[in-house]
Amino acid sequence: MSAHTDTIDEFVASDYKYGFVTDIESESLEPGLNEDVVRFISAKKNEPEWLLEWRLKALRHFEKMESPTWPHVKYPPVDFQDISYYSAPKKKGDGPKSLDEVDPKLLETYEKLGVPLHERARLAGVAVDAVFDSESIGTTFKEDLASAGVIFCSISEAVQEHPELVKKYLGTVVPYTDNFYATLNSAVFSDGSFVYIPKGTRCPMELSTYFRINAANTGQFERTLIVAEESSHVSYLEGCTAPMRDENQLHAAVVELVALDNAEIKYSTVQNWYPGDEEGRGGIYNFVTKRGICKTNAKISWTQVETGSAITWKYPSVILQGDNSIGEFYSVALTNKAQQADTGTKMVHIGKNTRSTIVSKGISAGKGQNSYRGLVQVGKKAKNARNFSQCDSLLIGDKCGAHTFPYIEAKNPSASIEHEATTSKIGEDQIFYCNQRGLEPQDAVNMIVNGFCKEVFRELPMEFAVEAQKLLDVSLEGSVG
């Protein structure tokens, strides 16, 4: 009857804009996981003995573990002997001393990704640590931050320059025995970011790490550690992209946050790993452990916008150890094509008067499967603990799925826990209503989805809220015919 086809039923591929490969000579380890590999990585990074020992303990522990089967995701078993655990752009001589000496091809890569590193074009007010495969290639605004006493560098550098801080905090929030992928990460982590905010300091700018996987057949195992001393404040953002490849690649990161008394850490993620194609070929397996610990009156806030990866498996969590501490989790997870996500959070209330808020927005399109999994745990001593959880799912089309798995354990009778969940479908009628007012079908879907995600987007730092919205629009491209 009209040129207008059935709006929701037709799903076409949208283009992944960051799918290019940088042609650069890399130094990669042969695939395989054993003690020699761990020793190689540790030696490569000139690590102290204690860190090598820690890695080896993790490796031995890992060899006794089985990969988790409880997530609501399906994938063939990962052959951990078939992955290269280290790949880095080849360095000339001693390696670059500053960003000016970095291979122009690498700078160009980041420029293409919208993260210019050189001085002229840097993002104003945002310091960036750029991690390429297994190595950090440079950090911007280091000097400016240093004058405020803030340490922001790669974790490898921190091990050399500030070993006492790394030794004091590494593995204190996520021990090497924590879970299958965290243990693997502890054995083979290559790089990542390190942040230290001194007592009473408000970090003068946004800190950001941009993770890029480039090499084929490698896994990326980064480790991020953020320590906010008493009464300090920091806002940190990570972004991630990878080339389009037919094989799956593993990304198993660990992030540890330590918020001491009265400190506040805001951690935002815009994750856009290559999601694979409609048939589920290729894409990143994003198996990540993120956890923070709050001391007295401290606050940790996780905000994540997850649009990429073939499989996402992550539960950014907060241990509310100190009295009056606050944990927040705001999440938008989108699965399109054949993507699968099993994500949520854990809020562990230990101290008195601890509060947590969970707002999770799952969007499923195409054949995407989206699960929220969350645990709210209130310990015996957590008097007057309060939690509010809201989990909303939005379905686009009729081939996708949304699932909610809330777990609540309360051991203190004074706890107050609220859980709200909704599932709705973008209706043909909503799209038609927008069309009838002159809006294109795709614009209509974007508007409806952005409306759905509003509560989460407003938690993102200003500059990135717009980015996140655009990213969501791009990820939904082709979700209507």
């Binding site: 209503y433 069309n435 007012r437 002159g438 809006l439 508007m447 409306g451 509560e455």
Partner: protein, 249 residues
């Protein structure tokens, strides 16, 4: 303005409209009445281009454009406005933002400059004052949590802002109390001009006390079985539809 010729349409091979002929000139208000299931809402949906209806014959011209060839959003930009019988809720999307996007899509299409937030607010607030609507409408998400009456008033506000050539009101009066009915009717009457036309679909004569139609058509079993002036509506109110249906059979 609008020329419907022998329009036939249905859902899943079930014919609903069985040959509609209707000619609406600029400046006119036409009322379409008829018992439940006669095809009134189908006609509105087909004019707006809703999915799921198969047009099996006939044509619809808006000025000289063949409406049936256009996607719903193109029809809207050409000046077709449908006031929904059940306006749709869009949670989280601010009403002002939604309406500004719509206004600008249509302005763009007409080659007019898009309105920035300031100018839009000025324009919409003036309109709301005219229509006697409260400004908190703008801050709320589109139709979400609105009462039935509020939803219908919001339709009228959108209509007023989009200034359509052809407004089709699909049972906009259903479920309205008398005050809301007045606001809706007032909105329609204000829109009325020499360069636009309105098709008011209604089940009850009541609305036509406030919106005085130039023509009244009775739709039954997918055909217009009787046309007349506003006195026809009164006759229907008195005698019901049965006498017409008997005549038509």
């Amino acid at each position: 303005m609008l020329e419907i010729k022998n329009l036939q349409a249905g859902i899943e091979n079930k014919p609903i409209l069985k040959g509609i002929d209707l000619s609406v000139n600029a400046g006119e208000v036409h009322a379409i009445m008829g018992p439940n299931g006669s095809g009134k809402s189908t006609l509105a949906s087909v004019l707006a281009g809703r999915d799921g209806y198969d047009v099996t014959g006939g044509e619809v011209l808006l000025q000289d454009d063949d409406l049936l060839d256009l996607a719903p959003e193109e029809r809207a930009r050409e000046g077709v406005f449908l006031a929904f019988q059940y306006p749709v809720e869009i949670p989280g999307v601010n009403s002002a933002y939604f309406l500004r996007s719509a206004v600008n899509e249509i302005r763009k299409h007409r080659g007019e400059e898009e309105l920035d937030a300031m100018n839009f607010l000025k324009a919409v607030k003036a309109k709301m004052k005219e229509l006697g609507l409260s400004e908190d409408f703008l801050k709320r998400p589109v139709n979400a949590g609105f009462s039935g009456g509020e939803k219908k008033r919001n339709e009228i506000l959108q209509m007023a802002m989009l200034n359509p050539k052809l407004a089709v009101l699909d049972e906009t009066d259903s479920g309205l109390d008398i005050d809301a009915l007045r606001i809706v009717a007032d909105g329609v009457n204000r829109l009325k001009g020499t360069d636009n036309a309105q098709v008011v679909i209604t089940h009850y004569q009541r609305l036509l006390d406030y919106i005085v139609p130039d023509f009244v058509h009775v739709l039954y079993d997918g055909r217009i079985i009787k046309s007349g002036d506003k006195t026809l509506a009164h006759e229907l109110e008195e005698k019901g539809y049965d006498w017409l249906i008997r005549d038509a059979a």
